[in-house]
Subunit: 206 residues, 2 copies
């Protein structure tokens, strides 16, 4: 069979759009993808676990990682740092496994600078109305934070053009289905596989 | 929902690779795709039906269609003409339906000139050995024709670079699965949908 380097997939989109839900549902179905767990300085929420949802670090620890170039991307969002440890991603891709990032929009743009060959998927709300409802119903934000998030979301939607795909999160199962199709089809992209197929077909000739 | 023009998908690859089998199996599962039936001057084979497998035309009739520019592509292959009626494809895409072509490699390259926005899928044999076995076991060709076909296949594999995707036909169900993933993911391509999403998200704001 064809030996391929892994592909880096980045799922991103406005805060509140449901990135985490889509990612969790995707990983229940797909055991081939490797999830890159982010590092953050935001406080742990009820039900979350260290090393499962995030690696929770102090501000000092995080800034040391920045200084030592150990993060593939990082961003400040609503006063907290979020980042992606670089080493895990690179080693996993080299081992031929796909890596899946679920990150904020600003972080995704940084990854794009470091990894233009990554596959960038924008998770879009069906409407801004719906996005507002989701942020409010989460119940973890004050009203002014909700307005901040909505304003940020509008700006982030403008950044859609930096992405390769847009998946609307109208229904989680449908969004997951589309992300899975993107993963599968990207492995069939001619520029990834043509030279290997040609070699394979020559070899079998002799 | 997002209103999209249909997408033209072209499945092609060397003769004997199993394009017809993959296409038939795909259409048993997917009722959204519209299959563009080709026109040919080759004799009807046992089990085939006019207007189902091909439109069978005389050489004179076919050359009249060429002259009147009624074909999106046409090719001569092993002494026979094969072509794609232009009108059906264009009308169907305008109506928002995807069109699926299953054609020879030379025809696919012509379609690419007329429709660079089409999505070109190369169906590849797992090996040349396997391709030879398939052509021989079909039992409809003389030995010298088999050799001609194999030689043509080698040349056609060199043309893989004109395609967007390569799908290996190691197992029909797996190949169909990949083609379905390509169809689904192409509908999520940012350049196809971003402007519509942005409009949708603005509208819902007011």
């Amino acid at each position: 069979m064809i030996e391929q380097k892994g592909i880096l997939f980045i799922l991103s989109g406005p805060s509140g759009v449901g990135k985490g839900t889509v990612r969790k549902s995707l990983f229940e179905k797909d055991t081939e993808l490797r999830y890159s767990i982010s590092t953050t300085t935001r406080p742990i929420r009820e039900g979350e676990k260290e090393g499962v949802d995030y690696f929770y670090r102090s501000k000092n620890e995080f800034e040391e990682m920045i200084e030592n170039n150990q993060l593939l991307e990082y961003a400040q969002y609503v006063g907290n740092y979020y980042g992606t440890p670089r080493q895990y991603v690179e080693e996993t891709l080299d081992a031929g496994k796909d890596v899946f990032l679920e990150i904020e929009v600003q972080g995704a743009l940084q990854v794009k600078e470091n990894f233009p060959e990554g596959v960038f998927i924008f998770l879009s709300p069906p409407s801004l109305e719906e996005l507002k409802n989701r942020i409010v119903s989460r119940g973890t934000e004050t009203e002014s934070l909700v307005m901040n998030r909505l304003k940020a979301a509008k700006e982030e939607i403008e950044l859609m053009d930096a992405y390769d795909y847009v998946v609307v999160n109208d229904q989680v199962s449908r969004a997951v289905d589309k992300v899975q199709a993107i993963v599968k089809s990207e492995h069939c992209k001619r520029e990834r596989v043509a030279s290997q197929y040609k070699k394979l077909l020559e070899v079998s000739e002799s």
